[in-house]
């Protein structure tokens, strides 16, 4: 039910469009009218997955789809209709889970759509030759990290929304937290890559085999905000 509700919500498609625009805005489009090298479309896609434009759009698109759904349920009294059909624990579990996945789903779909768009626009201008699986592999793992960071942002939105019972906080605080971490890293803690969301995406420092450290950091943050969100929602649902 939650998934259908999210996909049917007004904000889902604008969020998806924003995410696609974020990826495409980072593409270094070829300007010359000549035959392109083989694999240009996925090479450009791979580069776009860590572009500055995407870094800017990431927290925005992640929270839009479902970040304030809990706040809306409470404000519209819809919560009473839901709680009369499922107990509070089940509601909180489902809500937080879908809230968390919403940000990741937006970026997963945006990644797939932008890949297809680049394929359609560039593939037929490419010359024949061998594909480089390494680039595709790298792009795949970048997309995985993008999905995880998107999930972290939307989990923050769910937690902040429940804590402050405000859509503004649900949308605004993840964005502020994300940039606060970037600013802290860039200005004061340059040696601490673990606090930099851009570094989680780009993996320029040493994060261990296959960047495992970055995945663990993001997963730990997701779990932290899911737990905080569940606690805040549970508190809010005591009296409805």
């Amino acid at each position: 039910m939650e998934w259908k509700r999210m996909v049917g919500s007004r904000a889902f498609y604008p969020a998806l469009l924003l995410a696609i625009a974020g990826i495409l805005a980072g593409v270094n489009w070829p300007t010359e009218h000549k035959v392109l090298e083989t694999g240009t479309f996925y090479i450009l896609w791979n580069e776009a997955l860590t572009s500055d434009a995407l870094v800017f759009f990431l927290p925005l698109a992640s929270v839009l789809a479902y970040g304030d759904s809990f706040v809306q349920d409470i404000r519209s009294s819809y919560i009473r209709i839901l709680i009369s059909r499922q107990d509070r624990k089940a509601y909180v579990r489902d809500r937080m889970r879908v809230c968390m996945f919403s940000g990741g789903l937006i970026w997963l779909l945006a990644g797939i759509c932008s890949f297809l768009i680049l394929f359609l626009l560039l593939f037929f201008r490419e010359g024949t030759g061998a594909w480089d699986p390494k680039v595709l592999q790298e792009a795949f793992w970048r997309l995985v990290r993008l999905v995880l960071i998107g999930s972290w942002c939307s989990a923050m939105a769910g937690a902040f929304g429940a804590f402050f019972l405000s859509s503004y906080m649900a949308f605004g605080l993840p964005f502020l937290s994300y940039y606060l971490l970037i600013i802290l890293h860039d200005r004061y803690f340059q040696g601490y890559a673990a606090i930099d969301p851009v570094e989680w995406l780009k993996l320029q420092k040493d994060w261990g085999d296959n960047g495992i450290g970055a995945y663990l950091v993001i997963l730990a943050l997701i779990i932290l905000f899911v737990v905080l969100g569940k606690m805040a929602m549970g508190e809010r649902l005591e009296e409805i």
Binding site: M1, D73, R80, I81, R85, Q86, D87
Partner: protein, 225 residues
């Protein structure tokens, strides 16, 4: 059919909801003084009272939406808030119900039906027709009038055919025809042996529908009929 009516008769008189010394305080303010009542199967109970007298708070305590400060509510033998989060087999409409504004009434009910998996699209169609809404209408709930929203609220409360109905001001926002439709619907449900708790400002509705009438005044519940 015979078995069904026999079953209904044997259920009649069985306590469906038992409220024992329930009180509710918000900070220092007491909004419910010790309330005790037993609601029997197949009976319709009405509560009248001014705005802010505590009717809705009592109904919320019965549903488990608000925890009682003291006392217990048992529904179907289980303590609400301890043994069950929300009473099983209960349909509720409290205050103006909220729905997903971008979806049609039908889509809203279908989504809700998926939470319990008790009914399907056919039953959703039937219940929409029963409350006087067009099952095929695509109009989003956000564009519904207050009366249509109220009808949809009643539809969601009765769609899974619950044994107990808690209805807080179900006639709110309904026009003459709407009131008549919903009255007939409630009379039908009464005949089917449902247990109904109804709060209404309108004495006529209460007189017509209820077997027992209570008055709530400043948090004190008194049986008047």
């Amino acid at each position: 059919m015979r078995n069904q009516s026999l079953e209904m008769k044997t259920c009649m008189g069985k306590p469906m909801i038992e409220i024992e010394e329930v009180t509710k305080k918000f900070g220092q303010d007491t909004v419910l003084y010790p309330v005790s009542m037993t609601m029997l199967a197949g009976q319709v109970y009405g509560i009248v009272g001014n705005n802010g007298s505590g009717k809705t708070v009592l109904m919320k305590c019965i549903c488990g939406f608000l925890p009682a400060t003291s006392g217990t509510v048992r529904a179907g033998g289980k303590v609400v808030g301890k043994e069950v989060d929300f009473p099983e087999d209960m349909g509720v409409i409290i205050e103006t119900p909220g729905f997903l504004p971008q979806m049609s009434g039908r889509k809203n009910l279908e989504l809700l039906a998926q939470l319990r998996h008790v009914i399907g699209p056919k039953e959703v169609t039937r219940v929409l027709q029963r409350v006087g809404l067009d099952p095929e209408a695509r109009k989003p709930v956000g564009k519904y009038s207050l009366g249509m929203r109220q009808r949809l609220g009643i539809a969601q409360a009765i769609m899974e055919d619950p044994e107990i109905l808690i209805l807080d001001e179900p006639f709110n926002g309904l026009d003459k025809h709407g009131v008549a439709d919903i009255r007939n619907l409630l009379l039908e449900m009464k005949e089917q042996g449902k247990t109904i708790l109804l709060a209404s400002h309108n004495g006529e509705d209460i007189d017509l529908l209820c077997d027992h009438v209570f008055e709530m005044d400043a948090g004190i519940l008194t049986e008047i009929r």
